[in-house]
C-alpha cells in the first residue's frame, strides 16, 4: 500500500493501480471521454489529466500507474483550463445542434461543456462536412458528431473481436470508418450496438423504427401486436430514473397498452417455446449423432459473426429461430387464424434490448413469403422515448398482465435475458426430456455470473455432457478457436453477442456500466427464485400451442415456422 495525497487529502493506493481508479474510489470525479474500464488505457482524450507535484506536464490519470508517493491536484486552475480548452476544441469541430440531437440530455460532451462552464465558442473555424451512414439496418453513424474518442473502435476490436471500424486518415482528416470507408452494411459489422453503448455523443445511434411503429398504431386497419424481450423489463425503469435492478414488467405492459397496441405479448413465452425446440434438437443431435457441439442461435449478432468469420461452424448452429422471430411467426399464423385476422394486417413489433434484432427482422429467410415474421423492432431506449412522448409517467401506472395466448411464461424463459440463462433453461428441460424427471435443484449456478466464459459438466442418464456459456464475441472467438483446434468435450455452447448477455445489449439505456449489468442480472435471478413456474416444459401455454397447432417439437409445422437456415456471408473485412 502506498500513501498518496489527493488535493491535500491522504489516501492509500495499491502499487501499479491506475491513478484514475484511486481517484474514483475516493470519490474524486475526474472526467474521461475515452476510458473503458478493464482495457489498456488509450490516453486519447486527455480529459482526465491532473497536476502532479514533480511533473512538468499534466498527466493523464487513466494511464498513470501508482509507483510511489505522489501529490495530486485534480482540479487546479491549470487542470481546469486544460480540460475546458479540450472541450472547447471539441465543440469547435462539432455541429452545434444539441436541440436536434438524439443524445440531448444524455450526451457526455454536452454535460462536460456545462460542467466546465463553456459559455462561448472560443475557437471558431472550419467544420468537417460528413455524410451520415444510414446503410446499416441497425446502426446510424453520424461522423460529424464523432469526437474520435475511439471507444467504439476499441469495443469492436478488443471486446467483440469484430474490428469492422477503425481510424482512417491523419490529423484533422482523421475519422472513424469501415474498410475502404464503405457503408456499415457491407462491412463486417454484426450490428451488436456495443459501439452505440459506449459512444459519448450522438455519433452512433440505433436505426430508429419509432416512426413506422407510430404510423402503424395510427392506422385503423392495422392490428398492432407488441412483444417485449425478457431483458427489457429489468432495464426500462432506468430510463425513468429508477436505480438498476427493478423489474417493471407489469408497468411496461400497461404503458404499451396505453400507447395503443392491440395485444401485448411476452417474448419470454417464446423463449420457453425455443427451449422446447432447441432442447429437443440438442437431445436429437446427441442421441442420433448430429453435429456437435450445438450452438445457440438466439443472438443475431453472433449468427452474423459465424456466417462471416466461421462459416464452417454453420452446421453447429441450432436451426431454431430466435424467440423474437418464433413469436412473430406464430402470431401471423396460429394467432391470426385463431382470431380471424388477415395476417397481412398484423403489424408485429418487438421491443428488444438489441440493435442486431433490427437487422435480424429483415432477413429474407425469416418471413413467410412476403410476410416478415416481425415488422419493426424497438430498442428499450426507443420504447422509453415513445412512452415519454405519449406523456406517460411509467412509475405511476397500474401494473397489468400480458395478453393470452402468449402472455404466460416460465421463469426459465425470463432468464434468457442474461448470459447463462438459455443454458440453464435448456438444462432444466433437456434433463426432463431425457430422463422424464425434474432436476433435483433447478439452479445451475455454474453457468451464472458475469464472467465471459463459464463451463460446466453434467451427467444426464449416464451421459457426460459438457456445456459452455460465453458472452462477448471476443470470448466466443477464443472458444471457437479451441473447438477448431480439436477440442471435443463440449456438447452445447450458449453464445450471447454482448458481454453479460441481453441485459447489456446494444439497445439498452445509455450509461450502462458493469454495476448496472450486475443489478439487472440479479433482478432476473430474483424473478426466477420467486417464481413457481420455473421450467419451460411445464409452461401450460406452450403445451397448449403444441396441442392445438404445432403438434410436437421438431414436427413439421415447427420446422416450417420455428426453424431457419444460415448462409456463408461475404463481407468486407
Amino acid at each position: 500500500m502506498i500513501e498518496i495525497e489527493i488535493n491535500n487529502r491522504t489516501v492509500t493506493a495499491k502499487k501499479g493501480e491506475m491513478l484514475l481508479e484511486v481517484l474514483r474510489r475516493n470519490g474524486v470525479d475526474v472526467p474521461t471521454l475515452c476510458h473503458i474500464p478493464d482495457l489498456f488505457p488509450a490516453g486519447a482524450c486527455r480529459m482526465c489529466v491532473v497536476e502532479l507535484e514533480d511533473q512538468n506536464r499534466l498527466v493523464p490519470s487513466c494511464a498513470f500507474p501508482i509507483d510511489g508517493s505522489v501529490r495530486v491536484k485534480t482540479h487546479s486552475p491549470r487542470v481546469l483550463r486544460a480540460r475546458k480548452t479540450i472541450v472547447e476544441l471539441l465543440l469547435a469541430n462539432h455541429p452545434n445542434d444539441c436541440l436536434y440531437c438524439q443524445r440531448n440530455g444524455s450526451c457526455e460532451l454536452q454535460s462536460l461543456a456545462e460542467e466546465l462552464g463553456v459559455r462561448e465558442p472560443r475557437y471558431a473555424g472550419d467544420k468537417p462536412v460528413c455524410k451520415i451512414d444510414i446503410s446499416s439496418q441497425s446502426i446510424v453513424r453520424d461522423p460529424a458528431k464523432c469526437i474520435l474518442c475511439g471507444r467504439c473502435v476499441r469495443v469492436c476490436e478488443e471486446i467483440q473481436a469484430v474490428g469492422s471500424i477503425d481510424f482512417i486518415g491523419r490529423g484533422s482528416n482523421a475519422k472513424v470508418g469501415t474498410a475502404f470507408d464503405e457503408g456499415l452494411n457491407v462491412s463486417s459489422c454484426v450490428n451488436c450496438g456495443q459501439c452505440v453503448m459506449v459512444c459519448p455523443t450522438g455519433a452512433l445511434r440505433e436505426q430508429s423504427h419509432t416512426k413506422r411503429v407510430v404510423e402503424a398504431l395510427n392506422d385503423p386497419d392495422c392490428f398492432v401486436v407488441i412483444q417485449h424481450a425478457p431483458a427489457v423489463s429489468v432495464t426500462l425503469g432506468e430510463e425513468f430514473g429508477i436505480k438498476p435492478g427493478l423489474d417493471v414488467c407489469g408497468l411496461a405492459t400497461t404503458a404499451m397498452r396505453r400507447l395503443g397496441f392491440d395485444r401485448v405479448f411476452d417474448t419470454s413465452f417464446s423463449a420457453d417455446l425455443t427451449i422446447m425446440e432447441e432442447g429437443s434438437e440438442l437431445v436429437d443431435r446427441i442421441t442420433n449423432g448430429g453435429v456437435l457441439p450445438m450452438m445457440t442461435s438466439c443472438s443475431p449478432g453472433w449468427i452474423k459473426f459465424v456466417e462471416q468469420f466461421y462459416p464452417d461452424f454453420i452446421p453447429n448452429l441450432s436451426t431454431c429461430k430466435s424467440p423474437q422471430q418464433m413469436l412473430g411467426a406464430i402470431v401471423k399464423s396460429y394467432f391470426a387464424e385463431r382470431e380471424g385476422i388477415d395476417p397481412k394486417k398484423i403489424f408485429n413489433v418487438a421491443v428488444m434490448p438489441c440493435t442486431a434484432k433490427k437487422f435480424e427482422c429483415q432477413r429474407p429467410e425469416l418471413s413467410n413469403g412476403n410476410l416478415p415474421d416481425i415488422d419493426a423492432v424497438l430498442t428499450t431506449r426507443e420504447l422509453a422515448r415513445m412512452i415519454r412522448m405519449r406523456g406517460l409517467d411509467l412509475m405511476t401506472l397500474e401494473p397489468d398482465e400480458c395478453d393470452m395466448p402468449f402472455g404466460k411464461r416460465s421463469s426459465a424463459g425470463k432468464i434468457f435475458g442474461t448470459s447463462g440463462g438459455v443454458m440453464e433453461a435448456a438444462i432444466r428441460s433437456a434433463y426432463f426430456l431425457i430422463t422424464g424427471n425434474e432436476l433435483e435443484t433447478l439452479d445451475v449456478k455454474t453457468v451464472r455470473g458475469l464472467e465471459g466464459v463459464k463451463e460446466a459438466r453434467l451427467e444426464i442418464n449416464g451421459l457426460d455432457i459438457g456445456v459452455a456459456v460465453v458472452s462477448g464475441l471476443g470470448n466466443a472467438r477464443k472458444l471457437l478457436e479451441e473447438v477448431k483446434a480439436g477440442r471435443k468435450d463440449l456438447h452445447f455452447i450458449e453464445v450471447m453477442t454482448c458481454p453479460g448477455g441481453c441485459i447489456n445489449g446494444g439497445g439498452q439505456p445509455y450509461g450502462t456500466d458493469s454495476k448496472a449489468v450486475a443489478s439487472r442480472m440479479k433482478a432476473l435471478y430474483k424473478i426466477d427464485r420467486d417464481e413457481h413456474l420455473r421450467t419451460s416444459h411445464s409452461n401450460q401455454a406452450v403445451a397448449e400451442l403444441y396441442e392445438q397447432y404445432l403438434g410436437k417439437p421438431l414436427g413439421e409445422k415447427s420446422h416450417h415456422l420455428l426453424h431457419t437456415h444460415y448462409e456463408r456471408r461475404e463481407v468486407m473485412l
Binding site: 488505457p41 486519447a44 506536464r57 499534466l58 491549470r78 479540450i86 471558431a124 474520435l148 482523421a174
Partner: protein
C-alpha cells in the same frame, strides 16, 4: 555461404563454425597459422581496399540521393563512355555523399601512386575535359575541391587539401568519416578501414553490463531528438528480465530538411549495422529492426545488401564469431507517416497496427515491441558506437560540452551558400556552422534566423548566433536539438509564414488520436492563416474572429504542450511560440497593420500605380482578374484596394515600371 576472405586452406572459418578472430585476421593479418604469404596477401589486399595501392586509376562519383538529384547518374554514364571511347582501364566507384551537397555531383579521381582529388559540380558535359586533364597530370583549378590527405601517397603541389577546405576544416567527422569516401557496397572496404573491429572486441571481451556502463560514462545521448542518455536507456532494457528483447533502429527520418540518416545509410551502411550489433549485444537483443521510410529506396537497397554481406561474413546470424551471441536484423519499411518516428507509434507500426502513440508508462525499454523490452535508437546514435567503443568513453567525452558529448551531424539547408551535411563537435558556435562552414547567406541578403530541430524545434535569431550548440543551450533559446535539421532563413522569410508552414505540416501529420494535438493544431493553423490573409478575404465578423484567435493563441499553445499524448503534440506549438518570442513585431505588423514586413505573405501586399509613370496603356486593366484597376485610356490608372487580390499580374504586365508593391 563461404566468406570470400579465406587466405588459404588453413583458414577454417564458416558461418556455422566461426573463427573468433575473423575480423582481426582479415583486417590486420593476425593469423591463426604462421604463413608469411598469407600475411602478405592480406596486407596487400587491405592496402588496395584502402586505396593506398592502386593498379589502375580509380574514379569516384558521389552517387547518393543528393548526387543523383544533381545529375550524378548522367555523370557516371559520361565517365564510362569516356573510358570506353578512349580505351582507358579504370575503376569506377559509386560512393555516398561526402556532405557537400551544394556542389554535387562530386567526382574524385585517383591515379596510381597519387592522392585522390575531388572535383565539384562535374556535370556530364564536363567529364571528358576533366578526365583528359587529370589523366595527363593537370589538375584543373576551376572545378577543384581539394585533395585527400594521405601518409603514403604523393600529393599534388598547389592543390589544397580537402580537410583544409573551409567547408570541411571546422568539422569533426566521427560518424561520417567513410561517407563519400568508401564504396558502400563493399563490406571489405569497411573492414579494411577498421570496421567491425569494435563489435568484434565487444562480443569477445566486454560483458553487456560493462558496455552499457561505458556508453553511459561516455555521455552519448540520443541523436534522434530527445537527447536521453543512451546508456541509461540500455540499462533499463538490460535489467528487465525477458526471454526476448528487441533493438529498433529508428530510420524514419521525417523532419522537413533533415537527411542525416539517409546519408549515413547510403554512404556507410556497415557502420550502422556494426552500431546496431553493439547495441543489441549490450541489451541482450537477438532480433533487431530497422524502421526505415520507404521514401529512401537507395538507402534500403544499400542496407539490404549490407545485411546480406554481414551475414555471409558471419557478422550477423547465429553464434557470431563464436561468441554465442546471435542477431538477426530485419528491415521494416514505414509508409511515410511522420508520427511513426515517435517510439510507441513506431512500435505499433511494426506490430502491424495503425501508427498511433501509446501512453507511457510502460516505457518501451520495459514493455515495447510485442510487449518485450525494446530499445529504440536513432541511426546517428547507433552510428556513433563503433567509434565510441574504439576510442573509449574517456576520449569520447573529452569532446563536447558539459552536458553533451561527442559530435552532432546537421543537415544544413535553406538560404545558405553551402548546403549539405556537416558534423561538428558539440559546443560549436552556430555562427561557425552558418557562416564558416555554410559560407553565409547567398545573394548579399541579411541573415534572419535558423530553424533547428524540425517542426518541433524553434528558431534562433541573429542575437543568439554565438550560441554554442548543445542539448541544453538550445532549450534556453526556445529551440531544441531535434534530429539535426538546420534551416537557414534570410530577410525574405516571413516568420509568421514559416510558423504557418510548420504548423500545417504538424497538423497534417498528427495521427489524430489525442484531442489537443488533433483539434488544437488545426485551430492554431487557422489562426495563422487568418493572420496572413487579407481583410478582403474575411467578410462579416472575420476580422473580429481573427483578433480573438490571436488573443487565445498563447493559451491554446500552452494547453497543447501541457496535455498532448506524445512528443509530436507536446512540441507542436513550438514553431509558433518560438517565432512569437523572437519575432513578435512581425506578428504585430500582420495583425495590426495587415502588412508582411518580409513581403512573403502575398495576400497582404499592397499594389500601387505611380501616376507619374503610368501612361494609361490599359494593359493592366485588361489583365486584372478582379477588375480592380480603374482609369481612362491615356490617363493614369489607380488600383481599388478593396477589390485587389494581390495577385501581382499588373506588376508583371506593366511595361513602364509604374506598378510598385510593398
Amino acid at each position: 555461404m563461404v566468406p570470400e576472405n579465406k587466405c588459404c586452406e588453413k583458414c577454417w572459418t564458416t558461418p556455422e563454425n566461426p573463427c573468433p578472430q575473423y575480423i582481426d585476421c582479415v583486417a590486420g593479418g593476425e593469423l591463426c597459422h604462421d604463413s608469411d604469404s598469407c600475411k602478405e596477401e592480406f596486407a596487400v589486399k587491405n592496402k588496395k581496399l584502402r586505396r593506398e595501392q592502386l593498379d589502375r586509376p580509380a574514379i569516384f562519383v558521389g552517387a547518393g540521393t543528393c548526387g543523383l538529384g544533381a545529375g550524378a547518374d548522367r555523370t557516371l554514364q559520361a565517365i564510362k563512355k569516356y573510358l570506353a571511347d578512349n580505351k582507358v582501364e579504370a575503376d569506377v566507384v559509386e560512393v555516398g555523399c561526402i556532405g557537400f551537397c551544394a556542389v554535387e555531383p562530386i567526382v574524385d579521381v585517383q591515379l596510381p601512386e597519387r592522392t585522390r582529388v575531388s572535383f565539384k559540380e562535374i556535370t556530364a558535359d564536363k567529364v571528358p575535359a576533366l578526365l583528359e586533364n587529370v589523366f595527363k597530370g593537370d589538375i584543373p583549378q576551376e572545378d577543384l575541391l581539394g585533395q585527400h590527405s594521405s601518409a603514403t601517397l604523393k600529393p599534388y603541389e598547389s592543390v589544397g587539401f580537402l580537410n583544409e577546405h573551409p567547408f570541411f576544416a571546422p568539422q569533426t567527422r566521427w560518424v561520417l568519416p567513410n561517407c563519400g569516401v568508401i564504396d558502400p557496397t563493399q563490406i571489405n572496404e569497411y573492414i579494411a578501414w577498421g570496421g567491425y573491429s569494435a563489435f568484434s572486441e565487444c562480443i569477445r571481451e566486454k560483458v553487456p553490463a560493462g558496455l552499457c556502463e561505458e556508453v553511459l560514462e561516455s555521455g552519448l545521448r540520443g541523436r534522434g531528438g530527445g537527447g536521453f542518455p543512451t546508456g541509461r536507456k540500455w540499462m533499463f532494457a538490460l535489467n528487465t528480465p525477458a526471454e526476448q528483447k528487441y533493438l529498433i533502429c529508428n530510420a524514419d527520418e521525417g523532419d522537413p530538411g533533415a537527411f542525416m540518416d539517409r546519408a549515413v545509410i547510403e554512404g556507410d551502411p556497415h557502420r550502422l549495422l556494426e552500431g546496431m550489433a553493439i547495441a543489441a549485444y549490450a541489451i541482450g537483443a537477438t532480433k533487431a529492426y530497422v524502421y526505415i521510410r520507404a521514401e529512401y529506396p537507395l538507402a534500403i537497397a544499400r542496407l539490404k545488401l549490407a545485411i546480406d554481406q554481414a551475414k555471409q561474413n558471419g557478422l550477423l546470424g547465429k553464434n557470431i564469431l563464436d561468441s554465442g551471441f546471435s542477431l538477426d536484423i530485419i528491415i521494416k519499411q514505414g509508409a511515410g507517416a511522420f508520427v511513426c518516428g515517435e517510439e510507441t507509434a513506431l512500435i505499433n507500426s511494426i506490430e502491424g497496427k495503425r501508427g498511433m502513440p501509446r501512453p507511457r508508462p510502460p516505457f518501451p525499454a520495459v514493455a515495447g515491441l510485442f510487449g518485450k523490452p525494446t530499445v529504440i535508437n536513432n541511426v546517428e546514435t547507433l552510428a556513433n558506437l563503433p567509434h565510441l567503443v574504439k576510442i573509449g568513453a574517456k576520449q569520447f567525452k573529452a569532446l563536447g560540452t558539459e552536458t553533451s558529448k561527442g559530435t552532432k551531424v546537421f543537415a544544413l539547408s535553406g538560404k545558405v551558400a553551402n548546403t549539405g551535411l556537416v558534423e561538428v563537435a558539440m559546443g560549436t558556435k552556430l555562427r561557425d556552422i552558418v557562416f564558416a562552414i555554410g559560407g553565409g547567406i547567398p545573394n548579399g541578403k541579411a541573415f534572419k534566423a535558423v530553424q533547428i530541430g524540425g517542426p518541433s524545434g524553434g528558431c534562433i535569431p541573429t542575437q543568439h548566433l554565438d550560441i554554442e550548440i548543445d542539448y541544453e543551450s538550445l532549450k534556453t533559446v526556445g529551440a531544441m536539438m531535434g534530429s539535426g535539421g538546420l534551416v537557414v532563413m534570410d530577410e525574405d522569410t516571413c516568420m509568421v509564414d514559416l510558423a504557418k508552414f510548420f504548423m500545417g505540416f504538424i497538423q497534417s501529420e498528427s495521427c489524430g488520436k489525442c484531442i489537443p494535438c488533433r483539434e488544437g493544431t488545426k485551430r492554431m493553423l487557422e489562426i495563422l492563416k487568418r493572420i496572413t490573409s487579407s481583410r478582403a478575404s474575411q467578410p462579416g465578423t472575420g476580422a473580429l474572429t481573427r483578433f480573438k484567435g490571436v488573443m487565445y493563441l498563447d493559451r491554446l499553445a500552452e494547453v497543447i504542450k501541457d496535455t498532448s499524448l506524445c512528443g509530436l503534440g507536446q512540441t507542436a506549438p513550438n514553431p509558433v511560440l518560438s517565432t512569437l518570442r523572437w519575432f513578435r513585431d512581425e506578428y504585430e505588423a500582420h495583425i495590426f497593420e495587415n502588412r508582411c514586413p518580409a513581403g512573403a505573405c502575398k495576400e497582404l501586399l499592397t499594389y500601387n500605380i505611380d501616376a507619374d509613370k503610368c501612361k494609361g496603356c490599359t494593359l493592366c486593366v485588361k489583365k486584372c482578374p478582379t477588375g480592380a484597376i480603374m482609369g481612362a485610356p491615356k490617363s493614369p490608372h489607380y488600383i481599388v484596394p478593396d477589390k485587389c487580390i494581390a495577385c501581382g499580374t499588373c506588376l508583371e504586365v506593366c511595361r513602364f515600371d509604374a506598378v510598385s508593391v510593398k
